[in-house]
Point group: C2
Chain length 329, copies 2
């Protein structure tokens, strides 16, 4: 059988993750990596992988079945998304929650125009977590949903600390507060703000001679980022940051707590959780599975923007319907 | 908007659960309960619910959008499934895993013939657990999947104990073995048989004068059911069984442990878990949500047998696509 030919647009941690994920998918093959950098400056995980200037993609429409867009949501995807949706079936991990409706419309217009399928906001949140929020709410309408993130690195919060005078480098972990998680799992349905669900654990490398007390004070009082949260600050050496804090773990849980029965007498807890050693590699693996779905939906004649909500689970698996029913149902 | 009119075929614990679940779904309404018993002998949860002889269903094709089949898999569904699929869109919870392919074919033939949609094997296992097995395997092809059941009542095992001479009544709980669960969650990817994952906890009411040692021996050596398992037997009074063991809790987890990256250096754990006070009420709530999906798929012109693998998540929710993208993605 002809393999699904996949392109990767953008080669950072996520793009590299997709390159590695495709190796585990025997029904897909890498058609090329597309970059804005000089192609010879990119070192793919596999030295056999072909690297092209991003502008060459347009002339390779017949050689690529699905393009996985690995750029960032802030500035890359709003430009690249609609452009690539006009040429290819696409998958992306657009994750600026507030702008999803607007991005969906842009992508839908472009993908409808080209007759391709673009599945947006794929990954774990948005993505797998969203599916679980939807499923569990649909099944238990009388209930409450909770999303906890972590333990994991927040890039935005790490950057915010790095912006403080006297800070050389920093890593911030978002950590779910155990007590809050337990109250939810016990079905107590507490009202919890994001700050009541998470604490912020900061590892900071100070410049030589910097005022550490002042830095700590600035972190803990920073509005939006830290002021409302339980925040821990630990100063460490640059070597220690490199040695102990260069991995990119993440995870979290979606919990639905709902009631059924006469008098709402029966309580149910539905929980989906992830514990990930590498956030970008796992996200990339989700993108690869959805590339398979986009290709199938496109082969069926569908077009336009889609989200994980629109994709039947069977489309994610390389196995046949009969095999899935026999082995996994 | 016209509500989706739902019929319930069979009124045991599951049928009653569906009746209660529909109350929580503002877009659906109960069209009637259909029973093989004399209708006047059925006491619905809501005294306003209409009860009809099952043979009347055939003449009510225009009054029912989806029929939820609440009979058992052993003898009811193999007969009733194809019959009702020839008349209505249907949902059922057929759960004899080994016979699913055969049942699917029967239902597909009947539903194709009538131009209706029949979603089979809906519930949590098969059902939500199946979706999670599929999703997590598609995303992490290099890994192992584990399903644990419990703590929950196994009807089949309880019946097996009741069949022993000298036993008046019994309840058997299937309980996941903590140590096995922890090894899986730690990413150790152990090889585990069903017996190595679960223990069997039996509460037995003996007839007066029965030989308890003999009963315990017979339980613990019963092939297939108990012989391979760690089995606990506790003798209790009939009053105690009624007081402490008449609820129908259940639950369990599906865990996928997989690796990504160069040298498979990064481990990921994906876990879906349920903790249910009432197995039949939760299963019924899943059936109700899938009734909504069956109706939509039918409205789109689809027909034939489907499983949870074929249903896009969005079809389960009463909310619009735009609302789902804005609120839950």
């Amino acid at each position: 059988m002809q393999k699904i030919r996949v392109g990767i647009a953008g080669y950072g941690n996520l793009g590299r993750g997709v390159e590695l994920a495709l190796r585990q998918c025997s029904d897909m093959e890498l058609a090329g990596i597309f970059t804005r950098r000089p192609p010879e400056s990119v070192q793919p995980a596999d030295s056999q992988s072909k690297v092209f200037p991003i502008k060459d993609a347009e002339s390779m429409k017949d050689q690529i079945d699905v393009m996985i867009l690995c750029g960032g949501s802030a500035s890359d995807l709003p430009q690249q998304g609609p452009y690539f949706a006009g040429l290819f079936n696409t998958i992306d991990s657009f994750d600026t929650h507030a702008k999803i409706p607007e991005y969906f419309d842009l992508m839908n217009q472009s993908a409808k125009g080209s007759g391709r399928v673009s599945i947006i906001s794929v990954g774990w949140d948005p993505g797998l977590f969203s599916i679980n929020r939807l499923l569990s709410e649909a099944i238990l309408p009388n209930g409450q949903s909770y999303t906890f993130w972590g333990k994991g690195v927040s890039q935005g919060h790490s950057d915010a600390i790095r912006g403080i005078k006297g800070v050389k480098d920093a890593k911030q972990y978002t950590i779910p507060i155990d007590e809050a998680v337990e109250r939810v799992r016990d079905g107590l349905n507490p009202q919890l703000s994001t700050a009541e669900k998470h604490l912020r654990d900061c590892y900071v490398v100070a410049e030589e001679g910097a005022d550490k007390a002042q830095i700590e004070q600035e972190i803990k009082t920073m509005p939006n980022y830290f002021a409302d949260y339980e925040t821990r600050v630990t100063f460490i050496s640059e070597q220690e940051l490199k040695r102990n804090h260069s991995a990119m773990p993440h995870g979290g849980f979606v919990i639905r707590s709902g009631k059924t029965g006469e008098e709402d007498s029966n309580a149910h807890i539905v929980e989906f959780s992830l514990k990930l050693d590498s956030n970008p590699e796992f996200t990339a693996s989700v993108l690869a599975a959805y590339a398979r779905a986009a290709w199938r939906m496109s082969q069926e004649g569908q077009s336009g923007a889609k989200t994980v909500f629109d994709v039947p689970p069977a489309y994610l698996s390389p196995r046949s319907g009969a095999e899935l029913r026999k082995e996994l149902l």
